[in-house]
Symmetry: C2
């Protein structure tokens, strides 16, 4: 998304209104304020207008799914697909628990196994078929079974509807459960180790913890914990979350790929950015000295046991 933002209108803390970027494709005139405000969670100003780059509908679209013997095989297929530069438009990963939950909720019949779902875009039918064929071969080398293509719009729609309903599918496996997600992102080369190890962390957890991830960016919501709001489950969810995030940071990754920092992940910012956090706070101070813009979020020092991080 970020790279499709061409320009913004932003109201600053002192009431001034600025415009960033332009409709020109490229500019080397001044600092890149657009990227600074995108993802700043409103702590530097209020975005009141966004100019987005539009993309034409692709000439041809196809989708596919492939199941694997192990989640490592699935992830290694995703890694190799990325590293070969196959331009998949989407590549989503689910573990067996997530596929099972989705089948029950969305009335689909995907084999209950670690699965990759793909979407291919191209200038022609031949081009998307070529992409699908390349991915099928990669999957076969990693023990992929039953590579299945979905060419009709109805089939594709059913597939992605199922994916979009994953949240509700998970709500349904534990009525009264509350979602507690991680959305770490690690370097592609570490993704398989990261997912396999993170799954071990929750193997004996007292709550369901299905895995779903966006493999083309190596972000995965692994796992979502479906906890009941009782202290024991909450404490265990926090303990496992911390373990998963620390591992992602050790692997050179980030504590949040898409969801953001808010208040919940403030404690990991220093660990992730070191002195970079001071640079962020200097910008916050320069733009909003009275701390009016979404106070308490993202870069704000959080008082912990009398000290601050």
């Amino acid at each position: 998304m970020r790279e499709n933002v061409m320009g913004l209108t932003v109201v600053l803390a002192d009431g001034r209104i600025i415009k960033t970027g332009s409709l020109a494709r490229k500019s080397a005139a001044g600092y890149d304020l657009t990227h600074l405000f995108v993802g700043a969670e409103g702590t530097l100003g209020v975005i009141v207008d966004v100019t987005l780059r539009l993309h034409p509908q692709p000439e041809s679209v196809a989708a596919a799914s492939c199941t694997f013997e192990s989640i490592r095989d699935a992830v290694e297929t995703a890694i190799e697909t990325i590293q070969l530069g196959v331009g998949v438009a989407r590549m989503e990963l689910m573990d067996d628990a997530q596929v099972d939950a989705c089948n029950r909720y969305s009335k689909t019949t995907f084999p209950v196994a670690p699965t990759l779902f793909f979407e291919f875009h191209g200038d022609s039918e031949r081009s998307v078929n070529d992409q699908a064929e390349t991915v099928r071969k990669i999957a076969e080398e990693h023990h992929g079974r039953g590579f299945r293509s979905f060419t009709s719009p109805e089939e594709r729609e059913a597939l992605w509807k199922m994916r979009h309903e994953a949240y509700f599918a998970n709500v349904a496996i534990r009525r009264g459960g509350k979602m507690f997600t991680t959305d770490i992102c690690v370097p592609i080369s570490r993704l398989a180790d990261c997912i396999v190890e993170s799954k071990k962390d929750v193997a004996n957890a007292p709550f369901p913890a299905p895995v779903v991830g966006t493999s083309e960016t190596a972000i995965f919501t692994c796992p979502s914990f479906w906890i009941r709001e009782i202290p024991a489950e909450l404490a265990e969810a926090r303990r496992v979350e911390e373990k998963i995030i620390r591992r992602a940071l050790e692997m050179g990754g980030t504590c949040t790929g898409e969801h953001g920092i808010g208040t919940g992940r403030i404690q990991y910012l220093r660990e992730e950015h070191g002195a970079g956090l001071d640079a962020m706070r200097a910008i916050k101070q320069a733009f909003d000295p009275d701390n009016r813009m979404n106070p308490g979020k993202m870069v704000e020092p959080r008082l912990l046991f009398g000290g601050s991080v």
Copy 2:
């Protein structure tokens, strides 16, 4: 280039060293410092380490050229190619004067006319052929003549060598001339008007002013003036430059697409960014209060007739 920078190591004005970004594909953890430092021309810190995203060599590559009756036809072909989402890897524009200069210098034999040069990348030979065929059809609708494909690596190399030598080709058309370039970038929809009008500005100039541009981003170095260092030519070059830049800004474009602000374009920053320039200066002040980092460049107020801009 900008979008291939994954992370930086930067030495700040106070000697602190920070790391920005990571090897993870995406992150929502904190402000995007990477994009802030890229293109800041060293005014916020010294970049000492850069981590770049690598792309695999494409499976298949082809190049093509097409000449047009008018520069407007050429630019409209470029615009339509972009708007249709044909994923051209390169699309370069030359006017007849530039082609002529290049032919003389690089011993090529391209027809002396407004010309587009293309490079296509794809997963397969079929895919690049499909792209070339789509572009050929678009060009035909705009009176393109003699669409010519270059499939062998030797032919492609000769084509791009000629393009890379454009600077030296221009040096050769006026021995002792000094380059004076513009590199404005405007919204794609205004590109044809912008180039046609800018060419009129230099039609009667006392120096050669060939046009070369990177059409896939709508940046064009239009024109490069090959002036002799005499006051009359310098004054005329400055006058025309100002006219071309002002028009680009009126069209919603930028005074510099790639070359940067430095000292030469400081005077246009306020016009381009309005109050946004104050936001940039606030960041400069926060990072470098003693003005040690590349002083005098980009965001620095320039004293003009006792006032400042």
